[in-house]
């Protein structure tokens, strides 16, 4: 257990001294994953909520596809985006491979199904309670979807935190499309992977602790925002 102890001490030391390179790496992790979540949120929340409110042929099939995409391995997404953005690929002229933008794109694709599936579940549950009454007030599918997202906004925040967790913790996609370039596209998870492959396990573990500490801080900040109403609990089917 001495490796863990050593790692914990090292982590504390790193946090206290706030080394510039470490701060930059953490900031980049947050920037990339945060941007990806917010970008995916638009489409994911709207799409997921609408799927819950609407009725159309082939809906079951769409849900099946959505649930399958939840298991999309991050490295597969990374590879797909890499092939798209490579100079030899269809979008090569954009020249954004090995940049943080490419990382944001990959992570957006990764968390989009997560947000959509959770939003669908959330809104479907809410509609079970009040869908009929909203309909009788004159709300069509889009209005019902939007109103239920508003109604369950705190559950939406939790949902986005879940998506953020998925994004900031992944390494496969950002490694491939970012290239782990020192000082440019190196994020926390790719740094941890690098230190592990160099055999410096205490440092790798320490970086892991630092990442967890910063995410915990984010969650604390979110929890501190006053909420006047009861929070709906989203459960998996």
């Amino acid at each position: 257990m001495s490796a863990v102890g050593e790692a914990a001490t090292l982590a504390l030391d790193m946090i206290v001294h706030a080394d510039a390179a470490l701060v930059r790496t953490v900031a980049l992790s947050f920037a990339v994953s945060g941007t990806a979540c917010l970008c995916a949120a638009w489409l994911g929340l709207a799409g997921g909520a609408w799927l819950a409110a609407a009725r159309f042929r082939g809906q079951r099939a769409v849900l099946l596809v959505l649930d399958t995409l939840l298991a999309l391995p991050s490295v597969v997404v990374g590879l797909a985006v890499y092939l798209l953005l490579s100079r030899s690929g269809p979008l090569g002229d954009w020249g954004i491979l090995f940049t943080p933008t490419a990382m944001v794109i990959a992570q957006t694709i990764l968390v989009l199904p997560v947000i959509a599936a959770l939003a669908r579940q959330l809104v479907a549950d809410a509609l079970r309670e009040g869908g009929e009454q909203l309909r009788s007030l004159g709300a069509g599918a889009f209005a019902r979807a939007a109103l239920m997202l508003l109604h369950e906004r705190w559950a939406v925040v939790t949902l986005l935190l879940i998506a953020f967790g998925r994004a900031i913790a992944e390494v496969g996609a950002v490694m491939i499309v970012g290239g782990n370039i020192d000082g440019f596209t190196r994020v926390m998870t790719t740094t941890i992977a690098l230190e592990t492959s160099k055999g410096d396990l205490p440092l790798a573990l320490a970086l892991g602790f630092v990442l967890l500490a910063v995410v915990a801080l984010l969650n604390v900040l979110v929890a501190l925002v006053p909420r006047g109403h009861a929070i709906a609990v989203t459960e998996w089917r």
Partner: protein, 282 residues
């Protein structure tokens, strides 16, 4: 959804939109005008710690920033073929010459060499200690108490390892050794596995010197000229990929074989030991 529910909602939308865009300020995507090149190199080179020593000197001299993508040699060459890098810096001469012959790169130049070492348990159950790598592997192949860890990832190191087994006339997986294990992994993880299993492993000296988790391992075979690992630099061919930053990449290639570059390479030391030996032909 056309939604004019309330000013609060409008404000929320605006804040979210800003929050979406703001982090991109950190993102700094590559500008076509900025003086930087992308270099594809190998994990073992990066892990040796050479780049933080070498590249800042180049940047100071030329104002060109070098962005290093460190992957396996095979993947580095693939990146070159795809045109996703401007210059390559790898150590697999045969593969490099093939790369140039196929037209993907301008002619390669020798830059430096480092060497491989055979690392194994201090008590050396197979009795391989010495200066001859082929003799050592022959003894290993005949030893039922030996375990060998191979990277198995088509890297330059893995290719070298296969050459030595071939030279010894041994089909490594089918020997009397207790275990021959391919991990499909980088040098660091391979060393970790060898350390955990008290096994033999072929490593580049740089990664070994940096490696912390040695357990009972030590260098058993070194100094054989066949263990020398030659590095080459190749500018990706702009005829195949017109967007390649030819002048900037060429500036790097020219600098690294110049006396200044070679001197910088020679001055890199780990634990007081020089890792890389410049050998560019002038």
């Amino acid at each position: 959804m056309t939604n004019r529910l309330s000013p609060q909602r409008g404000r929320r939308v605006l804040i979210t939109a800003l929050a979406c865009v703001l982090p991109l300020a950190f993102a700094r995507p590559a500008h076509p005008q900025d003086r930087s090149i992308v270099m594809a190199s190998t994990t073992s080179t990066e892990q040796s710690g050479l780049f933080p020593h070498l590249l800042p000197v180049f940047t100071k001299a030329t104002g060109i920033q070098v962005k290093v993508i460190a992957v396996g040699t095979g993947q580095a060459l693939d990146i070159g073929r795809r045109g996703d890098a401007d210059v390559l810096f790898v150590h697999d001469r045969a593969a490099e010459e093939k790369f140039v012959a196929e037209g993907w790169g301008l002619p390669r130049r020798d830059v430096m060499f480092n060497d491989f070492v055979l690392v194994g348990p201090k008590d050396d159950p197979a009795g391989v200690r010495g200066k001859d790598i082929v003799a050592a592997l022959t003894k290993l192949g005949a030893s039922p108490r030996a375990t060998f860890v191979s990277r198995g990832d088509k890297s330059g190191t893995h290719a070298a390892e296969r050459r030595y087994w071939n030279a010894a006339g041994i089909d490594a997986p089918k020997t009397k050794m207790a275990h021959y294990e391919e991990c499909g992994c980088g040098m660091g993880p391979a060393l970790n596995i060898a350390s955990a299993k008290n096994a033999y492993v072929l490593a580049d000296r740089g990664t070994w010197l940096d490696f912390q988790n040695r357990g009972d391992l030590a260098i058993l075979v070194e100094g054989d000229t066949r263990l020398f690992n030659q590095y080459g630099v190749i500018v990706v061919n702009p005829a195949k990929h017109p967007h390649v930053k030819r002048e900037l990449a060429q500036a790097f290639a020219d600098w690294i074989v110049s006396p200044a570059g070679q001197q910088t390479i020679a001055s890199y030391k780990v634990g007081g030991q020089q890792l890389f030996f410049p050998d560019a032909k002038q």
